[in-house]
């Protein structure tokens, strides 16, 4: 569906303090997950206990913000209870929506908690009207988080054909593979986003020094090499340098992050309901800075300012690394 109202800014929170920071910086909605395998950012020291979630929701509601709970990994065979339990807890805490990808979780929510709004996670990789229509009809899904494969023109066409809202990633880390359909991490290192909520798991990372410099490895596979003295990056599988044919380089994607801030006006024209910032693994300082800048940028877009003015608002936001608008511009493919 094409939304004509004010665009919603959806912001990440990996901790209760990041949630409060996002609320205070102007987030319309905050998404977060439980401290276990039921969410796709299952990293040590991150996420919420049920009590922290309940308190976070109370705080957000008191300030006019919403909380969306991500239960977006795939339930384990023979042991689906933790996922059902997470869904039950989110509903009991008064979550404004649950974000899910697994049919088992969606079905549980639709039958047991029909009053709680359901959003389809990017991990479900629903990119066509037929696929989105299926999730809407079968589970009453009200919003789909779009896979990062569509151009903004394709998003506009899609919005004309579906009856649910769309949410588009606008800033942060960028998966180059279709999310929810990538097993590279378990292939190399035994744990994966779908199975464990983890990609390129930290306990399998090593930085090995030799005469040529540093090799950043994941489970023994060299993901990148750095000259002596050169700062070494984290060996995320799809962002490494490899050899193929007679070439060596960033075969899948350069070490870039997504910044589609310059396309906020285009997203609005395409009928997108909500803009999502990635980064539940980030601290509250980062969340405050990014959310505050995007709050200004979205408000400027709503007031009719053009893309150049919005670029100026967001110009200070750079992590030092290079940025891309990803698949939103067709040339990325």
């Amino acid at each position: 569906m094409t939304t004509s109202g004010r665009m919603e800014l959806v912001c990440p929170a990996g901790t209760p303090s990041a949630l409060r920071a996002a609320v205070q910086a102007g987030a319309d909605s905050i998404y977060c997950g439980f401290r276990d395998e039921t969410n796709a950012r299952n990293f040590p020291g991150l996420n919420f206990s049920p009590q922290e979630l309940a308190e976070g929701i109370r705080f957000a509601h008191a300030h006019g913000s919403k909380v969306l709970v991500a239960i977006n990994t795939f339930a384990r065979a023979g042991d689906t209870d933790p996922w059902r339990h997470a869904a039950d807890t989110a509903a009991a805490c008064g979550a404004d929506a649950v974000i899910a990808a697994d049919i088992a979780v969606l079905d549980h929510m639709a039958t047991q908690h029909p009053g709680t709004r359901l959003h389809l996670s990017v991990q479900a990789a629903a990119a066509t009207p037929e696929s989105i229509g299926f999730y809407a009809d079968a589970f009453n899904v009200r919003r789909v988080v779009l896979p990062r494969v569509l151009s903004v023109q394709e998003i506009a066409a899609l919005n004309r054909l579906i009856k649910v809202e769309t949410e588009a990633f606008v800033f942060g880390g960028l998966c180059v593979m279709i999310e929810g359909r990538c097993y590279l991490s378990s292939y190399a290192a035994g744990r994966s986003p779908n199975l464990n909520g983890v990609c390129s798991p930290p306990e399998m990372v090593s930085y090995d020094e030799d005469r040529e410099g540093t090799a950043a490895r994941l489970a023994g596979f060299t993901i990148d090499r750095y000259a002596p003295g050169e700062p070494a990056g984290y060996p995320t599988l799809c962002k490494g340098r490899f050899k193929a044919g007679d070439k060596a380089g960033y075969l899948f994607e350069d070490p870039v992050s997504l910044n589609a801030g310059s396309m906020i006006v285009a997203f609005k024209a395409a009928g997108v309901t909500a803009l999502k910032i990635e980064g539940r693994q980030r601290g509250k300082g980062y969340v405050t800075e990014v959310v505050r800048a995007f709050r200004k940028a979205v408000d400027a877009a709503e007031q009719g300012h053009d893309a150049t003015e919005i670029d100026n608002i967001l110009a200070g936001l750079s992590e030092g690394g290079r940025q891309t608008t990803g698949a939103y511009r067709k040339i990325w493919r």
């Binding site: 065979a77 037929e130 896979p147 593979m177 359909r181 990538c182 378990s186 490899f242 493919r333």
Partner: protein
């Protein structure tokens, strides 16, 4: 003990029409495979090249006693690709669904789900069974025991395991063959046709790692599930899926037949396979709950 059947999965690679015809005619005439998948799964742009030859391939396969399954695209994007899926779903033959896009068009009639569809647990499997899933080939990262758990809770569905070939590990909106050749997907010049098993990707330290095939990323290594048929039967696994590659697939099919008929033990079968001209070494970690790149079985 129920007999374990053999399936030839869909071809992932871009082979010229003449090669497709020769390959599948030989499969039709010289193998005892129960089921053969046909159709393009990875890239809709390849379909105009292969579409003209499928009818005669299907006819030859059916004459050879094979049950033909029509496979559908794993990541449809264009109107033409979505239309192709809807048309295939209307066919009276069995259809393989590789994206939820196909489900509304096929719901209520029997279908196969391929490894691109995320079936991770018995609740999802039962849901799909209610919609018509007759055979489920789960994602490759699930272990033998996990599939056994799902199959045990879902006896109405025949479970099939990905048992031979480079593992389908990821899909992207971006074409890596085009990117490598300095092109874009929309004007790719079909460079993927140069690599009939995909193009090997090594690490900077020359470790064989992955393979690219257009928008798809596969393992460099060849996954080969070689276990006693009793171990499959005990987990309600009824079929093994062999993925087509440029090596002698008739010999691969014969080797798996000998394995499931207990004329050859797993170690003997592994030796026979390792003598073929494979594009990578044999691994089986996923089946045993390890990283997919590992070899759990004794060599």
């Amino acid at each position: 003990m129920a007999r374990v059947a053999l399936t030839l999965g869909p071809l992932f690679f871009h082979w010229p029409a003449e090669r497709l015809r020769n390959f599948y005619f030989r499969i039709a005439d010289e193998t005892s495979l129960e089921r053969v998948h046909v159709g393009e799964v990875v890239c809709g742009k390849r379909m105009p090249f292969s579409d003209p030859v499928w009818p005669e391939i299907i006819e030859r396969l059916e004459r050879g006693g094979k049950e033909v399954v029509l496979s559908t695209l794993a990541a449809p994007a264009t109107v033409r690709e979505r239309k192709a899926i809807a048309e295939l779903c209307a066919d009276g033959r069995l259809v393989e669904i590789n994206d939820i896009t196909a489900l509304p068009a096929r719901s209520g009639r029997p279908f196969v789900t391929g490894p691109f569809l995320n079936v991770y647990n018995e609740a999802t499997a039962r849901f799909l069974a209610r919609h018509g899933a007759a055979t489920i080939c789960p994602p490759v990262e699930l272990s033998l025991d996990t599939v056994g758990t799902i199959a045990g809770a879902c006896p109405e569905v025949g479970f099939e395991l990905f048992a031979f070939g480079r593992l389908p590990l990821a899909l992207s909106g971006r074409c890596y063959h085009a990117r490598l050749h300095g092109l874009h997907k929309d004007s790719c010049q079909f460079t993927c046709e140069q690599d009939p098993d995909g193009l090997a990707v090594d690490t900077l330290d020359d470790q064989p790692f992955l393979a690219i095939n257009g928008v798809q990323t596969l393992s460099a290594q060849i996954h080969s599930l070689l276990v006693e048929p009793a171990e499959l039967a005990a987990r309600n696994i009824r079929r093994l899926r062999l993925s087509p590659h440029g090596c002698d697939m008739v010999e691969v099919a014969r080797t798996y037949r000998d394995l499931v008929e207990e004329r050859q033990d797993p170690e003997g079968a592994r030796f026979v396979l390792s003598c073929l001209e494979l594009p990578g070494t044999l691994v089986d970690g996923y089946a045993h709950g390890l990283a997919g790149s590992q070899l759990a079985a004794r060599a």
